[in-house]
């Protein structure tokens, strides 16, 4: 894709205005191809979003039938992931939280990377140590997320500083929820990034809720992007369900970072259409009305409309796309389910580069005294 585009009117936007970057005009009859994007680009992005939606469908099914213990979905937030991924280069790094695994697929990770993690089996790259939704994938520079909200933001800055120090042409994209903007590391990361002019882009995924807390009870600011000014970081607010706007804002922010102009803060307005996780019940804290309102702004629907306006969408295309993707989802997850769980010994690996003696003794004693007593998992995750 062409990287020439600059969003001049938004460049260096640090004001508190209500301006919201939007490109897709839902009610238009026709549309022009946005500068720098081909028809194929837009199709690829749409297909990326469908992939995420289909993966989430599959996850939910597996979880409901008890085949996996837990799942996190990102329904409604596909444009956030795919739009910002599409503007990245392969050498760039991603510090995600749990709701950006769609980027992983878009950047070419094989579906079994995701499926194996859901089952925590022996081929899971996290070796069955993390709950589902905590993917790691070095091949695509997709960094392992802990669970602790916010801590990865300072890592993203450190990685950006390191790339800058080494003179590598690498930009770091990192993500934080509306809730996560209250974390200690949000503050530390923006402080550091500002003074060190680190090549990092902070995406606030404002999906309106932190579990049950609505964003206006999280922070009294008019808009979360107003936080940028206090750190000397240019900030912009974008319609996060408009994949073209997301793409353009991300692309411009990455370009700034690459030019050595430092970090950018991008607030992406979107909505968590599903529950917080498979353990959550949103009806406790929000209305059907509100959900319906946001569902009308579904990012896949809007992208579809845009493709219709461009004349590059047909029913047949849509049907075929979904069918082939759904098939893959079933295939890969069924395969992952059949793979063994990690052996007991592996539990002691990777604590240190080399196994210390005391830990070796713990391991060997466990195997010696208990291998004849296999155990089953129990317990249910509450949120």
């Amino acid at each position: 894709m062409d990287r020439g585009l600059t969003l001049d009117k938004h460049k260096g936007n640090t004001s508190m205005s209500d301006n919201l970057l939007q490109v897709i005009q839902d009610n238009a009859k026709t549309a022009k191809l946005p500068p720098g994007l081909s028809e194929a680009d837009i199709k690829r992005m749409y297909e990326g979003m469908v992939m995420v939606r289909a993966y989430d469908e599959r996850q939910k099914k597996l979880q409901r039938s008890g085949r996996i213990g837990f799942c996190v979905t990102s329904t409604g937030e596909e444009a956030v992931q795919i739009g910002t991924a599409a503007a990245l280069e392969p050498a760039d790094w991603i510090y995600p939280y749990y709701r950006q695994y769609g980027m992983l697929m878009y950047r070419g990770a094989s579906l079994d990377v995701l499926a194996n993690h859901l089952f925590g089996n022996t081929t899971d790259l996290a070796k069955g140590r993390q709950m589902p939704a905590h993917y790691t994938h070095k091949e695509t520079n997709f960094v392992s997320f802990s669970s602790v909200i916010g801590t990865h933001l300072t890592h993203a800055v450190g990685t950006a500083m390191a790339a800058q120090y080494k003179g590598d042409d690498v930009v770091v994209a990192t993500y934080i929820g509306d809730g996560g903007t209250s974390s200690n590391d949000f503050h530390a990361a923006l402080t550091f990034a500002g003074v060190r002019k680190a090549p990092v882009v902070f995406f606030i995924v404002n999906n309106q809720y932190a579990i049950s807390l609505p964003v206006e009870k999280q922070c009294a600011a008019e808009s979360l992007h107003t936080k940028g000014a206090g750190y000397g970081i240019p900030a912009i607010r974008v319609d996060g369900n408009d994949i073209i706007a997301v793409y353009q804002a991300a692309q411009e922010a990455y370009a700034r970072a690459r030019r050595g102009e430092g970090p950018t803060l991008v607030e992406l307005l979107t909505y968590r259409a599903g529950p917080h996780s498979s353990s959550d019940d949103p009806s406790r804290y929000r209305s059907q009305e509100e959900m319906d309102e946001w569902n009308a702004k579904d990012p896949l629907e809007r992208c579809k409309r845009f493709m219709q306006q461009l004349g590059i969408w047909t029913e047949a295309y849509e049907t075929q796309l979904w069918e082939s993707i759904r098939e893959k989802m079933v295939e890969f997850t069924n395969a992952a389910e059949k793979i063994d769980e990690p052996s007991w010994e592996t539990m002691f690996d990777d604590v240190y580069a080399e196994l210390p003696d005391a830990l070796r003794r713990q391991r060997d004693e466990l195997i010696a005294t208990e291998s004849e007593f296999p155990r089953d998992n129990e317990g249910e995750f509450p949120l």
């Binding site: 140590r129 669970s147 602790v148 932190a210 049950s212 009870k217 769980e341 990690p342 998992n377 129990e378």
Partner: protein, 326 residues
């Protein structure tokens, strides 16, 4: 008196204490409208209103820091940290401020408050929803640390913590939130902070444990009785700091053998202190080496949680091990 789960015991204490004392306020992530991710705060906002029970922004630093400021002003805040794995952003506040406010101000300012937080395994939560950080707090002078293992104690100890004048870390064994049931007296009810509880009387071996490990040890002790005729005593420590040294020493002097069971990583865990106390003060009465069964010195795994957390099998093997020593 009603039969309740441990979680209901906690909810009962919160209801009762809020009813007794207007200075009691409850807040934390999702504790208001959503009533907590484990539902520990069920019906509290409904009954006491948004002024006294409210959900906060996602900052443990802010939750504990604000609670301290309230306590200093004379309220009795009872903040919740959603998982004890997420207490670390508040660690500075707990160690530097909450624990030391009274001391450093020469007693001019005090900090009576209770941090409630679920800890330990049991929900397949992996590395970051399963940790047992109690030893960090028992090593911090100025804090009291309490972990109940029965519904009645959950209510009574929490009530005492709220009524007390010191900051308390009240850790709740989430593994047995709903799994354990027991009698919970209605209304006004306290269990004093300090004394340990003899969960099972015995003569051959003393097990020292707390929280979710108590029922595990009870199962193992039953098994050992049944299969081997061993008569095992179980001391439920309940209050981890201040330590009930008397109860520990008394039991080990009686049985001559000590097994210490805890979920946290073994090295420098709370059980190390129990072992050290015995080694200092009752080593002469030992008929066998002390044995600790702790978590392994590794982060908490997901798929293999079932192997990581000490269970009745491991404890039973440990009992045999100590009692087989001649």
């Amino acid at each position: 008196m009603a039969t309740k789960t441990l979680l209901q015991g906690i909810n009962d204490a919160l209801h009762t204490e809020m009813g007794r004392d207007e200075r009691v306020l409850i807040f934390g992530e999702d504790v208001g409208l959503n009533e907590g991710v484990f539902r520990a705060t069920t019906d509290l906002q409904k009954e006491f209103g948004e002024e006294r029970v409210f959900s906060t922004p996602l900052t443990e630093t802010g939750i504990v820091g604000a609670a301290i400021g309230m306590a200093v002003y004379g309220l009795k805040p009872v903040p919740e940290i959603q998982f004890s794995d997420f207490i670390y952003p508040a660690f500075d506040q707990i160690v530097s401020e909450m624990a030391k406010f009274r001391y450093r101000s020469g007693g001019e300012y005090t900090c009576p408050m209770v941090i409630r937080t679920p800890y330990g395994g049991g929900i397949r939560g992996g590395l970051y929803h399963s940790q047992s950080p109690e030893a960090y707090f028992t090593h911090t002078p100025g804090l009291k640390v309490v972990i109940p293992s029965t519904p009645g104690d959950a209510k009574g100890l929490l009530a005492s913590a709220i009524r007390g004048e010191d900051p308390v870390i009240f850790m709740e064994p989430k593994k047995i939130y709903r799994a354990v049931k027991g009698d919970v007296p209605d209304g006004d009810y306290t269990v004093p902070i300090g004394p340990a509880r003899v969960a099972r009387e015995g003569t051959d071996l003393s097990i020292f444990c707390y929280g979710a490990m108590v029922p595990v040890c009870e199962m193992a002790a039953e098994k050992a009785q049944e299969k081997d005729g061993f008569n095992v005593e179980i001391i439920d420590l309940r209050t981890l700091y201040p330590i009930d040294e008397t109860a520990i020493l008394q039991s080990v002097r009686k049985t001559g053998r000590a097994l210490i069971v805890y979920e946290a990583p073994k090295t420098c865990g709370y059980g190390s202190e129990i072992a050290a106390i015995i080694a200092e003060q009752a080593v002469d009465s030992l008929e066998a080496p002390i044995k600790r069964i702790g978590g392994f010195d590794i982060p908490f795994p997901y798929t293999l949680e079932k192997i990581y957390v000490p269970d009745a099998i491991r404890v039973y093997l440990g009992i045999k091990d100590v009692l087989d020593y001649a």
